[in-house]
Symmetry: C2
Subunit: 162 residues, 2 copies
Amino acid sequence: MSRLDSFIRRLEAQRACLNAAARLIAGLPGNVLEFGLGNGRTYDHLRETLTGRDIYVFERKVAAHPDCIPPDDRLFLGDFLDSLPRAIAQLGQNTALANLDVGSGDEAASQRLARAMLPSVLQLLKSGGILISDQPVEDPALEALALPAGIKPGRYFLQRRR
Amino acid sequence: MSRLDSFIRRLEAQRACLNAAARLIAGLPGNVLEFGLGNGRTYDHLRETLTGRDIYVFERKVAAHPDCIPPDDRLFLGDFLDSLPRAIAQLGQNTALANLDVGSGDEAASQRLARAMLPSVLQLLKSGGILISDQPVEDPALEALALPAGIKPGRYFLQRRR
């Protein structure tokens, strides 16, 4: 499989997870958290799929397409670990969906970051809320859900807060 | 359609064009030219699909994944318009497939660049050779071919040198 094949497969898997999560939270009120804006494609997909939800974005430094930049009052700018306590104070435990797309080229560092973020993310995620992650994260409060068909296990992680 | 949907569709279209072109040149000896290395995904796909072909890459400044960097003697480094005369002198008219993936954020500039490159590309492309382009380019020497199924007209351009 070429890197082009593998990249397409990863994006398709990401979209399938986002769409599955959107269906899973259909009956659950609450906001949506996007960790890592990047070029803004995932954010754009979330706001198209989850119209009417408040979507808060966490990003170190905004470099997205101008059409995909969230309004100032929906953006937690800076280091995730610095912004998370501010988000908890502001939003409380009212998140229906959190998407942790925090992988960088450095796999070990990405996993450490996701694990360091997890306790704070769990303070935001309400019972029944969904966590999508591109890094393996585990907690007794989370139950693993089956991935959408065709996604290789380990490519994404789909979990629900008990 | 979200930007994620649209990006996936563009990559799938690109892959379908590359695979169609590979089939079209199956009986035609000759080298392959890749204009724009980028992250190297397309190059990786070409070298997987067209094993045994000499693949020459044109790139202003290499910033690809380390696994996807062509050998020095297959790389024309610098401005396309500067490298093309060198390539013509070195390779002659022996190209079976040329992939012009030269689009940048600036649509008008991308089209100007592709049009400026075309006369030189046609000096390299042999009769029966295939030109894939992400920009609209036209020449009496080129006949348009049908795009693979599912690709929106205008997303890619598939042509054969008469």
